[in-house]
């Protein structure tokens, strides 16, 4: 019956450990549970860090880096909350939402929602080689000429990069980001 005793003690120890750790372990919050679009908002912020825009992409005295969302906004207010008060290379991050490609103006990053899958080639054709970093979630985004395709794999976010399309738009994507891409498309031409 020693075993029972040991188990009993062990059980109590676990219980106490949990309770104590939950009370005193309040301070550090380094591993929060995030939802899919909260994590994707983090990716968008990081992409801005790893991409260089040509100087002419910004108006002479502009201090704004604009992230546009085209189509259904699945971020809701999350992206705005994430980038609130943040600057990258002395440029303030601003989020705008657009219903149609014709509304897009003076934008540096464009997140093209899944709701635009059918119109994808038309949209990318309209953008042409303008210096806009295009990010999308459609399964054929990179094949259609988009630059970064986000997708989910086992509840984690992964991405593909179309480097050719980025180069044609005059954008430079850092090697660190290229290395992390699941697939690197070098053989596709920009969608017409």
């Amino acid at each position: 019956m020693y075993l029972n005793r040991i188990i009993q003690v062990f059980k109590d120890a676990i219980l106490v450990a949990i309770l104590v750790s939950s009370v005193f372990g309040q301070g550090s919050v380094s591993d929060l549970p995030f939802s899919e679009y909260e994590i994707k908002a983090g990716f968008l912020y990081n992409f801005c860090l790893f991409v260089d825009w040509p100087a002419e992409a910004f108006a002479a005295d502009s201090t704004i880096l604009r992230i546009g969302i085209l189509g259904t906004d699945r971020f809701k207010t999350k992206l705005k909350r994430v980038v609130a008060g943040k600057t990258i290379r002395n440029k303030k991050l601003v989020v705008s939402t657009y219903r149609s490609i014709d509304e897009v103006h003076n934008c540096h990053v464009l997140f093209i929602s899944r709701s635009e899958t059918k119109r994808l080639r038309y949209i990318l054709g309209k953008i042409g080689t303008a210096s806009i970093l295009t990010i999308g979630e459609s399964h054929n985004f990179v094949e259609s000429g988009g630059m970064i395709e986000l997708f989910n794999k086992n509840r984690k976010v992964r991405f593909n990069i179309n480097q050719i399309a980025a180069r044609q738009a005059g954008l430079r994507i850092s090697a660190r980001l290229l290395n992390l891409a699941e697939n690197l498309k070098l053989s596709y031409t920009n969608g017409k």
């Binding site: 309770l19 750790s21 009370v23 309040q26 929060l32 094949e143 086992n154």
Partner: protein, 698 residues
């Protein structure tokens, strides 16, 4: 219902502990609340502090089929993802399920398992009785629960574990969404999208128990929007040993081939999946009855099971906040075994819709229809009356998630309404409250009702269970267990409370529950004058199935996942279980629970990847003794070594049950204590085993 609860000293202890827990929880929440409400920083803005590599490592709190994210679910939910599945070294689903906190998995022999949570593993309940009859299992939306005996024939269910996306397990009643028989829990087996399994992969392996196996998979793309995969698996398992060390004659061979495809449209996805399988096994049957002398003998039978299914699913996002899913499937299962052969065809249609019609409400509703058509060959040993039956099952459910205080307090209420041909309308409501004291913790409370509906054999079955005597005319007399038309559903009322915490690479999950059961199955005593068995020169006395037992079960389930570094993770799970049932009417005691289940169960897994292409994983299992079954406690170790020695090839070595030559996980001793000698499948001892496999990817 509560009036019959027996309060013992253990119970006081339980209450004491609950109180202690409650006090700590309040304290904790108070601390958290203080911190939260006095800090102005939006916790969400911290996501920018993560590097891109760290972000890639974050797992998002994804969507359960109908239930929101795991962390935010007011139920005892646990998910095993594909990496944990592979790293467990499991070869079969029940083996993989051993990693899930709170699940009670016991292997009977080379091909049979019982898997349940919170008791009722149903071992030794007559013929075909190795079923955990209160646990529902679904694979990609298709029910694996057999309507014949209530339970899952694990020997016929197998998958390519490497093609599974995850296994989600809800312990406790899930009936308000999933319907009847989701009494003690449900398991959802979810396959990977064909999109995530592109390219060819071939696996060859051999081992001491899993003698040889081959898996193949090929994934490709059609016309730009359709992804598909084709797969096959062949497995041959060697017999285990019996208590005296001789071969238990429980060979097992399975072969299955299948496919999956998905077509992506702008806002909808169309998925198809289909499979065909063939299972052959040797079964050692004890106390097989026959009308000729010696009336009772042991016999090895060559059983087979085969089947196929085809399933289609359409998911459509009507807008950002609303989606619907329509699913239809056909499933055929054939079985040929000693005394029982036949087939079951299932046609199923299921629809559900999720939307946010009002600002604070998320409403999910749906309906379904199932048609089951079966046909069996009868024998003197086992017969069904009628031998073929057509059964309709209609169901509807609605659930409202109401944010009483948005982002802080959510009340989820819902109910399932079902109509079945055996017991009529069944209503299974649930009420759940989720409290989010701060960003890293969740507390929840739940009250719910669930039922287990009678199986076909409990309604229509006639099973010879025991040879009694030879009467004056030299005619053998048997005892026959007869299904009863008045047998109605078993009921559960459950109270649960849980708490989750996630911080600094550590996730805690604690659940406590109290289950009250009513109308449980018990068998009547033998009564009546001997009647003649039709067609043969033998007589029988009758025994009926009654709703004659009731009682309670209670327990605590704990789990902890601790990511010490990106390469080292520790997972601990502990569960405590206790139950007491009593027979309220004339009947035998075979439903009695105390001492039939391990009271304590603990699993510690260490997942270590010393290098990027090398993994060494260990899993310790401690399972308490089961005095009524005469099964001693056991403590054993499983190991998994993985080496990616080439970019396209890897080697895996798995050792299972390493600490002793063999051990029993269950026994049939319990049956012998009951004045009843049933025909049943022999229980084997589980042997130490080693296997190796090599995997090529193109």
């Amino acid at each position: 219902m509560q009036g019959r609860i027996i309060m013992g000293p253990r119970c006081h202890r339980f209450v004491q502990r609950g109180l202690l827990f409650f006090i700590f929880a309040c304290l904790q929440i108070a601390c958290a609340g203080k911190q939260q409400y006095f800090s102005h920083k939006d916790p969400l803005s911290r996501i920018t502090e993560y590097s891109i590599e760290q972000l890639m490592d974050l797992e998002f709190t994804g969507m359960l089929k109908k239930n929101g994210s795991v962390f935010d679910t007011p139920a005892a939910v646990f998910t095993l993802d594909s990496e944990q599945l592979t790293r467990s070294g499991a070869m079969t689903i029940p083996d993989a399920l051993r990693n899930i906190p709170g699940l009670q998995v016991a292997q009977h022999n080379a091909h049979s398992w019982s898997v349940t949570a919170r008791g009722f593993d149903g071992i030794n309940q007559g013929m075909g009785g190795q079923f955990a009859n209160k646990f529902l299992v679904l694979q990609d939306g298709r029910s694996l629960y057999t309507p014949l005996f209530s339970g899952v024939s694990w020997e016929a269910q197998d998958v390519l574990l490497e093609d599974l996306a995850r296994i989600e397990v809800v312990r406790g009643p899930g009936a308000s969404l999933w319907g009847a028989n989701a009494v003690n829990g449900i398991i959802n087996i979810i396959s990977k999208d064909a999109r995530d399994t592109q390219g060819a992969k071939v696996t060859f392996g051999m081992g001491t128990e899993n003698r040889s196996f081959t898996h193949f998979r090929y994934g490709g793309m059609l016309g730009g929007t359709t992804y598909y995969r084709l797969y096959g698996k062949w497995l041959a398992v060697d017999p285990l040993v019996d208590a005296s060390g001789h071969s238990a004659n429980d060979n097992w061979h399975t072969l299955r081939v299948g496919f999956r495809s998905e077509t992506y449209f702008a806002s909808s996805t169309l998925m198809f999946t289909g499979e065909k399988y063939d299972v052959n096994m040797d079964v050692m049957n004890l106390n097989v009855l026959s009308v000729e002398p010696p009336y009772q003998r042991n016999a090895i039978s060559e059983d087979s099971m085969s089947g196929a299914h085809l399933l289609g699913n359409l998911t459509h996002h009507t807008s950002d906040s609303s989606e619907f899913s329509l699913q239809i499937y056909f499933d055929r299962a054939r079985q040929k075994s000693l005394g029982l052969s036949g087939r079951i065809d299932t046609y199923d249609l299921d629809f559900h819709h999720r939307s946010h019609p009002f600002r604070r409400h998320e409403i999910i509703w749906g309906g379904g229809y199932r048609f089951i058509n079966d046909n069996f060959l009868t024998s003197a040993l086992f017969s069904l009356d009628p031998s073929g039956r057509k059964v309709d099952l209609w169901s509807a459910f609605v659930q409202d998630g109401y944010a009483i205080k948005p982002a802080v307090l959510t009340l989820t209420m819902g109910s399932k309404f079902e109509h079945n041909d055996y017991t009529g309308i069944e209503i299974q409501p649930s009420l759940r409250l989720l409290w989010t004291p701060d960003y890293t913790s969740r507390a929840w409370l739940a009250a719910s009702r669930a039922v287990r509906t009678p199986s076909r054999s409990e309604k229509d079955g006639n099973i010879l269970t025991r040879f009694l005597t030879v009467d004056r005319d030299s005619v053998p007399v048997f005892i026959r267990e007869e299904g009863t038309h008045s047998f109605s559903s078993e009921h559960l009322f459950a109270l649960e409370a849980g708490y989750r915490k996630r911080q600094a690479g550590m996730t805690w999950d604690v659940t406590a529950y109290y289950h009250f059961y009513k109308n449980l199955r018990a068998d009547s005593l033998v009564f009546g004058f001997p009647k003649s068995l039709p067609g043969v020169d033998a007589r029988y006395q009758t025994k009926h199935i009654l709703n004659g037992a009731e009682g309670w079960a209670r327990g605590v389930e704990l789990s902890n996942q601790w990511r010490i570094s990106p390469r080292f993770e520790l997972r601990t799970a502990y569960s405590f279980f206790d139950a007491k049932l009593k027979i309220s009417e004339v009947g035998d005691v075979f439903q009695q629970q105390s001492g039939r289940h391990p009271k304590h169960q603990m699993i510690v897994s260490s997942l270590l990847a010393p290098a990027r292409d090398f993994q060494t994983d260990l899993r310790f299992r401690f399972i308490d003794n089961q005095p009524l079954r005469g099964v001693p406690m056991y403590f054993t170790l499983d190991a998994h070594l993985f080496w990616q020695f080439h970019s396209r090839a890897s080697l895996t070595i798995v050792g299972q049950n390493l600490l002793q030559p063999s051990h029993a996980e269950t026994s049939d001793l319990f049956v012998k204590m009951v004045p009843e000698i049933r025909t049943r499948t022999a229980v084997s001892n589980i042997q130490r085993s080693v296997l190796s496999k090599i995997e090529f990817q193109f």
